[in-house]
Amino acid sequence: MQRDPVTGTFSGNRGLQIEEPLIFEQDAPGRTGVDLPEPPQVKSRLGGIERKGAIGLPGLSEPQVVRHYTRLSQKNYAIDTGLYPLGSCTMKHNPRLNEKMVRLPGLADLHPLQPVKTVQGALELIDQLAHWLKTLTGMPAVALSPGAGAHGELCGIMAIRAAHEAKGEGHRKRILVPESAHGTNPATAAGVGYAVDPIPANERGRVDLAAFKAKLGADVAGIMITNPNTCGLFENDIMEIAEAIHGVGAYFYGDGANFNAIVGRVRPGDLGVDCMHINLHKTFSTPHGGGGPGAGPVVLSAALAPFAPLPYVVHGPNGFDLVERNDHALASGQAFGRLKSFHGQMGMFVRAVAYMMSHGGDGLRQVANDAVLNANYLMASLKDEMTPAFEGPCMHEALFDDDFLKNTDVSTLDIAKAMIDEGYHPMTMYFPLVVHGALLIEPTETESKDSLDQFIAVMRGLARRAKSGDTAYFHAAPTLTPRRRLDETAAARKPVLRWKPSPITGEAAE
């Protein structure tokens, strides 16, 4: 047997880094990991509309399946593994109590269309979530059905448009969006038929108030603002902005991605927000799951509440009820429609309620305090080796630009790849766009001081190593991971998006 040219081992494995082929490369026809009974003979009612021929799914036994996914999991970084300094993602610890609660019989096994009287406890839980979200944000209503943050943005902007249309103001076609905004903001606005008008940032990293006021007009439908903003800074002029927007008859959409910085201390309702989506998978700890599912409930002001999409939970004469149509006795009658099948991401609601109850009002305030403290501690400990993008304290995330690398051939990307070999997931890079070579770091409140100190030491080390001219090291990084830098150009030029059997031999294509 030949030794693998890259690892030097016969297996191609390197210690606990085990190579794992695709399931399609482990097929044995007829093999399966379940024992299902033989179906009884019946007269088919398929009407002859049957599948002809094999599907092509591989057959593996249970032990093989468990080993396959276990090995795959070992190639992943996760919160359970280490700190994620990802700005605006709020990668906090995902409590296991939440997982236990969502799997309780009586919650996990409920069908969404059971008679309402058989699911009063589920509706009560949803109502509890609504209560916590409304209280924390100081808003009178909440739409719970959006399935993700971006979906929540869609909900908020649709509610704004519905409100304008109801007043005969459907001619308003412009939405103001800061240049520092997350890409979902302009994508959402365009998706609801609006033209996006960008507002520049000032040298303090906040919305340029003069530039903003110059853009106001009777054709403005609304503004979308993240606060704290994507530079990790609180928008000092936020209340003046809200007043000015309302002054021209427009609405204020708040992107709640950074709510972790102010939860329990500031209520967006008090800032003048008309609608704000909340990422349950950020502030409220529901797990990121490798890319979803999330949940993006939207809190609404009195002006927008009547337009909340269907369905929603209400207190009826016989207990909780679900409003699923505009002519329901307790409906506002003006819901702009439906955004998602059934009632929303119930599994995320249960997890979030468990999290909220665990922290309480006192704990949630401490969350914001510690999140902001941790980020400022990082900022204070790194600002002499790296270059903060803006003066003054930050909120829950610290933003640096790549000025500290200017006399080197090392880029922000190279720093990120070197962090990987150090055992860290990189921070958010090249976002926000308003800062050159941005490095955005959000530690969250669930990192201990020891964890932060280790991270600081590594970042200081890497910064100094870059400045000392050790460019080759950075350009080659990472070298210690299961895979090194991957060719994204080739992937995009000739996309291979599925496995196919090799045509000649019938075995897996390389």
Partner: protein, 125 residues
Amino acid sequence: MSTVKFTEEHEWIKVEGDTGTVGITPYAQEQLGDVVYVELPAVGKQVEKGKEMAVVESVKAASEVYAPVSGAIVAVNDKLAGEPATVNAEPMAGGWFVKIKLSKPDELNGLMDQAAYDKYVKGLH
């Protein structure tokens, strides 16, 4: 006699008679990185100076390509579909995007010549 002119959006146009060949400049392809895909308009489409005409995608960005002049698309470079890397390798030659039959040749007067464009690019840093 053909002339090459440039826009501030880093498109070039090489005019022969009433038809101009259009592409993106070496500076543009360098900024984009490896080009992975080019979205070209249909032959016959009418384009307007300064309006979006095509899209060029790299791994990290997708950029609009604007029509440097108004007119009708008379040809598109089919080769780019299978070999987008040509845009990086030969931006001024084999990596051309479209040919436009000019409807308003006067528009060329407002574009930069090579010297002016080189100066413009220098000033961008």
